[in-house]
């Protein structure tokens, strides 16, 4: 699931800016998860969020390709 939910967003856009993979975008005054498949689960958005609005999960939302299973 990667970045999982945003609740209590104040619309400061810190997460949008600090996501290396452009996963989060703004919808009016609220940030939303626009491209979950590209989330690398690095938690930068969560760590930059001033009001701790972001919840993360360790699962990727698309199949993961590994050198061995």
């Amino acid at each position: 699931m990667t970045i999982k939910s945003i609740s209590g967003c104040i619309g400061c856009e810190e997460c949008v800016k600090s996501c290396p993979c452009d996963v989060i975008r703004m919808d009016g005054n609220k940030a939303y998860i626009a491209h979950a498949a590209d989330c690398q689960i690095c938690h930068l958005c969560r760590m930059y969020c001033p009001v701790d609005a972001i919840e993360m999960a360790p699962e990727k939302s698309i199949p993961v390709i590994l050198p061995w299973g």
């Binding site: 360790p58 590994l66 061995w68």
Partner: protein, 581 residues
């Protein structure tokens, strides 16, 4: 806080979110060939043109110092970054910063350079190794003044010197093309992800601080690093090196993509400095072990390490065999453990770390830090294209060699090289006029940039990326190399290059970025396979099952890659301890 050990069944909320995400995959670019339902008016996309003396591309550790030093040397300087200053690429995740402090080190800088050269089996460029040690302390002091060692997040300390100097900063701009006019660098072109806008920048000199890259693998924060700088420079004739080396970070077999979780508390650590500590951290030996003995391979930071010997495999010089082996509280260099080159401070395993099965390939597609990228033509980060410089992971300086040697040298090396490149680029800019680029030329670039948005149908970039991952990431292709398999993989990659890259579609600016990144990864994969095929020996992090020995007679040489006059990829040897001509 996320519970690392929480494997219970999903709650109702999680379940709802899960099904939402699954629906998302179907609609978001994972389809292969499909109609391109463009969400924006492509013809309404405007262009913004900028002019500067020195253009720094990239907002990580190298880009920071390149911009600061170019500005301080008197050049009008501008930074453009795909992400946010201090919050993109690998910079946010590097926590160790190597400092050579003559007052506390027992050896001299000469000793340090010799030790690195012995561990690197000659693959390092001693000029750059020395430079790292000489300048590391001064760079660390500047970072300390800006507050870098007081926090977890690098954006604020990075923004401080940039704001003090009023250096223009363009964030969230994807640069896709370098512009060369009259035989020298003239600028760059790209687009904004947040606005329907292309961006062109005319510059007297350009410094690539674009980092290295990978194949968007799982378990390492490389999602935004796709060798963009290397590929842009290759396309205008720059020479590229180091593609055969392999970074060997591993990840957990449970939730392998969760790089934050798999690194314990490291992503939340405050950066710190460390002194001389030279390793021969392979990382890829876990891949050999898995190849020979099967899975799963236990290990990883804080875990009990496998002890039974495995015959063969990558060679580790005797002097360095015990360095970093677990001694109860060691962490770096342990089999399968993430090399601590990124700089976890030495010490015990991070809290909350439970031993579990590991899987390799977390950083698939990335070589050793500072080993891949543009070939340096002097000791000041210059490429073979006049006015084009590179620093940090975008420069194939071979500062540490084709293997992790000095702990914490990744961040420190980027800082040191960024500063040197900044000054060199400013000096160059002082000697030339602002380049003239005709409007027609600029339109050529913007047309090429926007092409995926204009296709009526095409391949989804995410699907092509996954296909490329399927070709390149398997252990028996990328890590345990042999000619037959690499030849086969290369054939696949060439197919993607010729018949998929030109037909990538994008429905919006986000997908446009993915399309360009995907294309860069394909070319990068081709370089990786060709260089790996050419190096018919095993050395450092390059391991050939069909050529398992170090071959000093033929291979005391780096491999440089460049585009031939016919457009095909050419490879050449450059002997160790020499400069290219």
């Amino acid at each position: 806080m996320t519970d690392l050990n929480d494997t219970t069944s999903p709650t109702r909320r999680e379940f709802l979110a899960l099904s939402g995400a699954t629906a998302g995959i179907a609609s978001l670019g994972m389809a292969a060939w499909a109609q391109n339902n463009v969400e924006i008016d492509v013809d309404a996309i405007t262009n913004t043109d900028h002019v500067t003396d020195v253009l720094v591309i990239g907002g990580g550790m190298a880009g920071l110092f390149a911009a600061v030093k170019a500005h301080d040397a008197g050049a009008a300087t501008m930074i453009v970054s795909k992400g946010r200053l201090g919050a993109s690429g690998l910079t946010p995740f590097g926590k160790g910063f190597f400092v050579f402090d003559p007052d506390t080190e027992s050896g001299t800088i000469d000793d340090f350079v010799d030790t690195v050269s012995r561990s690197a089996l000659g693959t390092n460029n001693p000029t750059y190794t020395r430079q790292l040690a000489v300048h590391s302390m001064a760079r660390a002091q500047e970072l300390r003044d800006w507050g870098f060692f007081d926090q977890t997040l690098a954006n604020r300390p990075f923004i401080k010197p940039i704001e003090e100097r009023n250096i223009p900063l363009l964030e969230r701009v994807v640069v896709t093309h370098l512009i060369k006019e009259d035989g020298r660098i003239a600028g760059a072109a790209g687009f904004r992800v947040d606005a329907e806008e292309t961006v062109t920048i005319r510059a007297k000199s350009v410094i690539l601080c674009t980092g290295a890259g990978g194949f968007k693998p799982s378990g390492f924060p490389l999602g935004d690093l796709t060798h963009d700088g290397t590929i842009m420079a290759y396309e205008i004739g720059a020479k590229v090196t180091g593609k055969e080396w392999n970074d060997g970070h591993s990840t957990r077999s449970v939730n392998p993509a969760a790089c934050y979780d798999n690194w314990g508390d490291m992503f939340e650590r405050v950066p710190s400095t460390n002194g001389v500590e030279v390793h021969h951290d392979l990382g890829v030996d876990i891949n050999y072990r898995a190849y020979v003995t099967g899975n799963p391979v236990s290990g990883g930071t804080g875990a009990v390490q496998p002890t039974e010997a495995v015959d063969g495999g990558p060679y580790v010089p005797e002097e360095f065999q015990n360095v970093g082996q677990p001694s109860g509280d060691g962490e770096g260099g342990a089999l399968g453990a993430p090399p601590s080159g990124e700089g976890g401070a030495p010490g015990g395993p991070p809290p909350g770390f439970a031993a579990s099965a590991n899987v390799g390939g977390a950083s698939a597609g990335m070589a050793i830090h500072k080993s891949e990228g543009l070939v340096p033509f002097d000791d000041r980060c210059a490429s073979n294209i006049a006015g084009l410089y590179a620093a940090g992971d975008a420069l194939g300086s071979h500062m540490a060699g084709g293997i992790y040697t000095q702990i914490g040298s990744s961040l420190a090396g980027s800082a040191v090289q960024g500063a040197i490149a900044g000054e060199a680029a400013a000096e160059f800019a002082d000697t030339v006029e602002t380049p003239v680029i005709s409007d027609d030329r600029l339109i050529e670039f913007t047309d090429e940039i926007l092409a995926p948005l204009r296709r009526e149908a095409g391949y989804g970039p995410a699907w092509v990326t996954q296909t490329l991952q399927g070709i390149m990431i398997p252990n028996f292709v990328l890590y345990i190399k042999k000619a037959s398999m690499m030849t086969a993989a290369l054939a696949y990659v060439e197919e993607l290059r010729d018949h998929h890259a030109p037909m990538l579609r994008a429905a919006n600016m986000h997908e446009l970025r993915l399309a360009h990144e995907t294309r860069n990864m394909i070319l990068s994969a081709e370089m990786k396979m060709r260089a790996s095929l050419m190096r018919t020996e095993s050395r450092c992090s390059h391991y050939r099952l069909d050529y398992p020995e170090v071959d000093d007679e033929n291979w005391r040489a780096w491999i440089n890659i460049y585009r031939g006059t016919d457009g095909a990829m050419q490879l050449e040897k450059q002997p160790f301890d020499t400069w290219p001509t």
